[in-house]
């Protein structure tokens, strides 16, 4: 497990004195707990969020604290309970619906795209859906071809949604509040490899509209999100040992995508590597790259490089899975190729 270091700077909280260390898992759980304490309309619903304690242990203890009405174990019925979440949101509640993993979210995608994201528009502005959907994403745990997808890019394509991907313990702790305050549906991606990561909680709320610069450097920009931010940070360390200083942008808000922060960085560095665990073709990285080409083409010394997953359903054996996923080495190599330090 990679431990994320402290962000060097975030656009959010005035980096306070709260130096408590906790895990990402606990940070998410605490965020849910706080929201439920603060607002009766908030409840948690999903497969095994209650008696089991959450497939990833996030909601352990919440059933005992809040009871079965507000910590609602559901049947295996992704389309059904996500749809019920949409209805409950229309009915004035503030549901947090957990889809165990992004892999199963395909079963609920109709409800997410065709109803949750769309009903405000097709009702001419009447039917807002203040729904939060959380799901685990990503590979790296040898869960093989059906349990390792990284489909954030698809969700980031859907008008009407806000899509966020907390990569730090602080963001995991503090982005849920603003997500629940948002009048429209928000999808939160939690990378499965992050739950055990520990870091400082800091203070919140964290703003859910902008990317965060996690490290400053003038030679190359590395843009990443979710599970790949840690890779970017490690790559930046390795590069620094060679005298190459990388700016690391944690995209963090995938829709509406804050490409302006990336473009600003590129204006200084003139080089960009985008790291994305999605399959390369049609990846979110393509959107980031395209926007940067569109916006700051003449600032670029070379075309944007992408470090993505190989275009293969993730294989079970570790050596093949690791070869398919973005790695520190591949990020470093891409940066070196751009900076001429190859």
């Amino acid at each position: 497990m990679t431990t994320l270091r402290e962000p060097l700077s975030t656009t959010a909280s005035a980096a306070s004195g709260d130096g408590d260390t906790t895990t990402y898992r606990e940070a998410v759980g605490e965020a849910i707990r706080e929201a439920m304490l603060a607002d009766d309309r908030v409840f948690l619903m999903g497969e095994d969020v209650g008696a089991y304690g959450g497939a990833h242990g996030v909601s352990k203890g919440l059933l005992e604290e809040f009871g079965e009405e507000r910590v609602r174990d559901t049947p295996l019925s992704e389309n059904g309970f996500v749809g019920a979440g949409v209805g409950a949101a229309l009915g004035g509640m503030r549901p947090i619906v957990e889809i165990m993993t992004v892999n199963f979210s395909l079963l609920a995608l109709d409800q997410i795209l065709n109803t949750a994201a769309t009903v405000l528009h097709m009702s001419g502005g009447q039917a807002a859906v203040p729904l939060v959907i959380r799901m685990t994403t990503g590979g790296g745990r040898q869960l093989a071809a059906q349990h390792s997808h990284s489909l954030e890019g698809w969700y980031a394509h859907i008008p009407g949604l806000r899509v966020i991907a907390p990569a730090t313990v602080g963001d995991a702790r503090w982005m849920l509040g603003p997500a629940l305050a948002d009048p429209d549906p928000v999808v939160i991606f939690e990378h499965g490899m992050l739950y055990n990561a520990s870091g400082t909680v800091g203070t919140g709320p964290v703003d859910i509209s902008t990317a965060a610069v996690r490290r400053r450097g003038d030679d190359v920009t590395i843009a990443a999100y979710g599970g790949t931010v840690a890779l970017a940070m490690q790559a930046a360390d390795e590069l620094a040992a060679d005298g190459v200083q990388a700016d690391v942008v944690d995209l963090r808000v995938l829709r509406p995508l804050d490409s302006a922060t990336v473009a600003d960085s590129v204006r200084r560095t003139h080089r960009l590597v985008v790291v994305d665990e999605g399959w390369r073709s049609g990846s979110l990285a393509a959107e980031v790259a395209t926007r940067v080409h569109e916006d700051v083409f003449y600032e670029l010394d070379a075309p944007v490089r992408r470090v993505c997953s190989a275009e293969v359903p993730l294989p079970y054996p570790r050596h093949l899975e690791q070869a398919a996923l973005p790695s520190v080495a591949r990020v470093v190599a891409a940066c070196r190729a751009l900076t001429g330090h190859g």
């Binding site: 059904g80 209805g87 229309l90 009915g91 097709m122 502005g125 009447q126 039917a127 806000r162």
Partner: protein
């Protein structure tokens, strides 16, 4: 003994029928476009169920929902303007025929994905339950075809498991587009599906508006009482093609004619006349009143402006300060 309530049912059905006949005309004329799914023949269902609901109850419907919108009390003007895509439409013109909304009247659309409104209804009922708004009902209308979708089953189980106040109104018109019920369901007794979730379920003659009204009254009372969901299978028939695109090659004309013999509008009218609830002059007055309302709605819709193109990207996200 028929009373004024029964005349109101007749009026309700007539409004729907005449409204839709006008829509068909306007479709041919090009004022209405996109998909248009007519409810003609099925009016007794919406007209019979809706009077049992209170303003605080909620309604979820499908793309074939003009009847439900009108019976729920959405102003005909707003519905017609929506058909035209004008700013005074009940969905500000954005939705058209398939997406009629009126949140103030707790009319939650207008969902054109088959069966997709059913989980929404379950969620609305869940919200009522969790917020302690006891005694509220959410009525959800959907077709026989929707019962084949997994979404129906997932939602039915949730509603029954959590004992939620949902009234499932399955409008069985025996066809999903061009495919007859017996050609797509292995067991055509749809009440059995509901029963397999421990949901009380019963069939209703959907061509008899009084039967619908009475069955729905009992069902709504049960749901309101908190004993969990009820499923009504309302047996009815669509006289017209599925949509304006449908060449309607999959059924015999004679089948349509047979159902038309049981048309709920003349049936109720005859009954009322027989029992003295309505005389021919009263009936004529009713017809005239409805015709005038439709004429007025069309004029209203025609006069309503189109939304400025600059507003295209409105309502993708809520406008600041909405909540």
């Amino acid at each position: 003994m028929p009373g004024t309530a029964d005349v109101a049912l007749l009026r309700s059905m007539l409004r729907i029928r005449r409204f839709e006949e006008k829509c068909a005309e306007l479709y041919s004329a090009g004022s209405i476009r996109g998909f248009l799914h007519l409810y003609i023949g099925e009016e007794a269902v919406a007209a019979g169920v809706m009077p049992n609901l209170e303003p605080d109850d909620a309604v979820v419907a499908t793309y074939r929902e003009h009847g439900h919108a009108l019976a729920r009390g959405l102003p005909m003007r707003a519905v017609m303007a929506e058909m035209f895509g004008r700013v005074d439409g009940c969905s500000h013109g954005r939705g058209g025929s398939m997406h009629l909304f009126d949140i103030g009247r707790r009319f939650f659309g207008g969902n054109a994905i088959v069966a997709a409104g059913i989980p929404t209804a379950v969620g609305l009922a869940l919200a009522d339950r969790m917020a302690g708004r006891t005694g509220r009902v959410t009525a959800c209308f959907f077709g026989d075809g929707a019962v084949a979708e997994g979404a129906f089953h997932e939602a039915a189980n949730l509603a029954a498991l959590w004992q939620l106040p949902v009234l499932f109104c399955c409008e069985n018109n025996y066809y999903a587009m061009g495919t007859a019920l017996r050609r797509y369901e292995s067991q055509t007794d749809l009440c059995l599906k509901a029963a397999s979730y421990e949901i009380a379920a019963w069939p209703v003659d959907g061509m008899d508006v009084l039967a619908v009204r009475d069955a729905a009254r009992h069902a709504v009372a049960a749901v309101r009482g908190g004993s969990g969901p009820v499923f009504l299978e309302l047996r009815t028939y669509r006289y017209r093609a599925h949509s304006m695109y449908d060449p309607d090659r999959y059924r015999d004309r004679s089948e349509i004619e047979k159902w038309k013999e049981r048309d709920p509008i003349p049936a109720l009218s005859a009954r009322l006349q027989e029992h003295g609830g309505l005389d021919p002059a009263g009936e004529r007055a009713l017809q005239d009143e409805v015709a005038a309302e439709i004429e007025d709605a069309v004029a209203f819709a025609e006069a309503s402006p189109l939304e400025p193109v600059d507003d295209l990207e409105r309502w993708v996200y809520s406008e600041a300060g909405t909540r």
